[in-house]
Assembly symmetry: D2
Homo-oligomer: 326 residues x 4
Amino acid sequence: MTSIKSVAVLTSGGDAPGMNAAIRAVVRACIYYNLKVFGIKRGYQGLIDDDMEELQSNSVSNIIQSGGTFLKSARSMDFRTEEGRKNAITNLKKRGIDALVVIGGDGTFTGARIFGEEHHFPIVGIPGTIDNDLYGTDYTIGYDTALNTVVEAVDKIRDTATAHSRLFFIEVMGRDAGFLALRSGIASGAEAILVPEVKTDFDQLEHFLQTGFSKKKTSSIVLVSEGDEIGGALKIAEQVGKEHPEYDVRVTILGHLQRGGSPSAFDRVIASRMGISAVEALLDNQEDVMVGLTNNQVVLTPFSEALKNKKPLNPQLLEITKILSI
Amino acid sequence: MTSIKSVAVLTSGGDAPGMNAAIRAVVRACIYYNLKVFGIKRGYQGLIDDDMEELQSNSVSNIIQSGGTFLKSARSMDFRTEEGRKNAITNLKKRGIDALVVIGGDGTFTGARIFGEEHHFPIVGIPGTIDNDLYGTDYTIGYDTALNTVVEAVDKIRDTATAHSRLFFIEVMGRDAGFLALRSGIASGAEAILVPEVKTDFDQLEHFLQTGFSKKKTSSIVLVSEGDEIGGALKIAEQVGKEHPEYDVRVTILGHLQRGGSPSAFDRVIASRMGISAVEALLDNQEDVMVGLTNNQVVLTPFSEALKNKKPLNPQLLEITKILSI
Amino acid sequence: MTSIKSVAVLTSGGDAPGMNAAIRAVVRACIYYNLKVFGIKRGYQGLIDDDMEELQSNSVSNIIQSGGTFLKSARSMDFRTEEGRKNAITNLKKRGIDALVVIGGDGTFTGARIFGEEHHFPIVGIPGTIDNDLYGTDYTIGYDTALNTVVEAVDKIRDTATAHSRLFFIEVMGRDAGFLALRSGIASGAEAILVPEVKTDFDQLEHFLQTGFSKKKTSSIVLVSEGDEIGGALKIAEQVGKEHPEYDVRVTILGHLQRGGSPSAFDRVIASRMGISAVEALLDNQEDVMVGLTNNQVVLTPFSEALKNKKPLNPQLLEITKILSI
Amino acid sequence: MTSIKSVAVLTSGGDAPGMNAAIRAVVRACIYYNLKVFGIKRGYQGLIDDDMEELQSNSVSNIIQSGGTFLKSARSMDFRTEEGRKNAITNLKKRGIDALVVIGGDGTFTGARIFGEEHHFPIVGIPGTIDNDLYGTDYTIGYDTALNTVVEAVDKIRDTATAHSRLFFIEVMGRDAGFLALRSGIASGAEAILVPEVKTDFDQLEHFLQTGFSKKKTSSIVLVSEGDEIGGALKIAEQVGKEHPEYDVRVTILGHLQRGGSPSAFDRVIASRMGISAVEALLDNQEDVMVGLTNNQVVLTPFSEALKNKKPLNPQLLEITKILSI
């Protein structure tokens, strides 16, 4: 049996589509299980500033379809200090809050882990980031929406690339991980995909440019992770442009539009499942764990493990690009 | 070692977004593995009519983003006759085709199974249907796109429902299976979901209408599978309208727009994986099997097994609706 | 010089995308010109029930992109009675409100005209309806968005129609006017368009079905206004199906999804212009007039004139369908 | 009476959504009026290379919804030489082509004008560019689609901006003209809009940043035309970031995705009208003119006049931004 009576929820770090759906699920699960629930504004900073209020079922009506996070997000310097975290625990105790649900990425969970250990406070995390770079879950909230956003953008750019027989380098988000570039590259029919996990085989790109592109004399799209070791789309395009003055090379950096937008059906469903599971985990006396979906089942992974391990790219997906771009 | 040198591909039954992505993957995998590949028009009927042509890599350029199927689909009465199937095998042999990839649903696989047994011809199936009602795979091609189409439509209808405080019954496709209604219902925040797999608890709907709707005095959305045993959205709405003249009840039947549209990133990726795996299965001397994705891994299921078993709805998803619509 | 110090705004009748953008413009124009501004909930009924509150600039932040109307809409029976309208004027006077901006269609303006005359109260109307059937303006708010919604839906249905060589009858909104059917028909490449303004030349449809469709052996789309005199898509499809059993005939009724969705750029711009112009008209002592855009210029039309005249379909557009579907 | 029997059509310069709809209308109008019609590939270069073929009605089936141009586009250096143009006229005469329809922007019309004068060859132009910077028409083909693309992108970025209380500078296309920035800025609720036509009132931006942004403590979006005299979004953001270290400043350059995508209903309709009108103008012995839509009527403007004059921004639209961003 649990003694938890009151839960608070916050979003922290970069926002991701589906965070609102997750908050909604947390709130409604709390109400379903007769718990009080508070919404904290602006992540850990709002916790320190005591910027929170109790939420009802209809506080989260009509938000499942909205991008961003209505609780807002922020990066908090104060929460990195012992004093900041002391203020945080004081505010939680003052309001009788017994447990915390935090939605975000590895920065968010690092903060949660320190805070949870320091003050013996039960925390469950929900993975929300478009980068999908969290160990312990097949999918993070926001990843599927971002994939669709990138693919729609590349579809549009391909119209232009085809009309003009151009070679486009398109940069997508992903500082340390190529998940977004890899899947959106496959889905948009990219001729090559450059990700940080694979040391760019420049000879291979060169081979493609010499055979594939010149043979087909039509458009080509190369997707580049911002974290690729060569240094992003601009650098690569510059180099290719120098060596191949015969190509009409262009660059587009998709930027922040990848973070926004109404969440996809997939993201809304996994956010709803994770939100409920997070509350049920707290009721089951779990703490310092992240909720995840592995093989379509809810699993719990300790923060320490989630933070220590690096999720690998699916090697099968890396493989098939070669076949598909033949 | 395989002796397969030449493969043909067709789409059959109801079309689904992502079929073109699957065809593209089949074609390019064949070329990658040095096989000839033919595209058959209008499903089994085109096979009987010898309506096919050899495809090259650029025959499938720029189709990954298109809905429908550029090979067209049809239901063939002739293929249900022994004579029709005799003509089919004659055409295949005449052109030196050794194996077949068929993309479609259970009707397609039933035909494939009969034909394969009758003429000892290797066939691999790829599941393509928006209904997701095939055993042996977690997801069928087209399901994710249809989910997004339904969710976008419900989002629009909710604008109107909210502006007027109305009660909407929205009917989605799914004659025998509620997969589409269930996930799109969760993702669109529906207040209730009626699926064929669950005998409609009319009392429960009644309870919601008496408490939930009247309490909130705002919009409500009920998603109804066309196959629900009460008889579709129109029938249910009529009954509710009679018993609750105080509600402003409306009905929308989404219809065929659910089948079309540019495929989602998710559907393009699974279609690409399945298309390649189908060719690799043939090279591995597999036959009379359906390619599927279970727990994100490619699996092969004999047609007989895929056709005999009914895929159940995820009981967890059925459960969470109660919590989310509180 | 005007003596107006305080304005109220409401939306009434069927909702239309862009109504929120119009409300936002009214509110900000009032603040810009140092007027108080009130938002009335649920149209005329909220006026009678005194359901209103003062709005600030940030009351309308982040709503320009939302479909529906955050002030909600309703049809009010009470406002059709003298007593109801007496309560309405009492509430307005009590709060010191000098003028009214009403956003809606002809029903809305009929109410405004009666009320304005009865109580000598200054009212300016803004045309908001997806039907575009208002005299005195080239475009009503919501029409362009609805056009895009219909066209996207027809694009999806065409995927399926093409894959199966089907003949689709698609019904769009427009009880008395064919504006939506006509423009969306041209934009979606429909083979025929049936509108209430033109007595359906059944022979012409017949001619097309006998020559065009059978010749091309591919998909065909016929767009039907719900107000067409033959009786909607279902009736026409039934008749055609009987006379042409050789065709695979299907019907889709698009329904309420046409009313919702995020407004298009066009609708947001005209809604913003009209909202500001409505307030400026009041400051200019105009009353009982509707703001409109004719030839891209703001014009004012007395309610009486706007209600008396019927806006004709553009005869050039009717003409070009014949050429385009050749 | 005209003696024209055979027409060729090409697209040139930057591609724009709706060009395919215009080509389709040209082709079908030719067939309707019993003219032969040829499609020239890759603009003027294809004319010089004799890269063209006769088109039928079904050559342009199912392209009305596609972005880009299936005839492809290119910039031709050869066409700037007398010799190149001599080859062009030779090819036209060889095939018995009497007249030309060219779809593009001012570069396209400059070429057309020189060629038409030099060889006394009848040419009619259709304005196709997302920039809307052509005199003689209220709207160019592609402008409305690009507006919607920009607005959807800004809506997504606003999700993130709001979640983090950031100040975003978003750069849109428009080297010499601010049409795209102005209307998309109004439609996306931008707090400020910087266009090349207006010398940037930096003090005014500064005033907004000091009062508006700090007052509201929420997101702000500034739309910047790439042609703005300060030097694009990156330069402005750098300067603002230096002077206001208290703001979290970000930049997104939307880039080439603005050119692509399925055309909006509006663009498909005007492209269809203009395509037909261009053929009818040729039949009416018009030449060296551009087809345009002014006040919703088809008008013809001589190339010389269209090229000499600069279309001004609508001063009313410039004015209302101040009111809307209050």
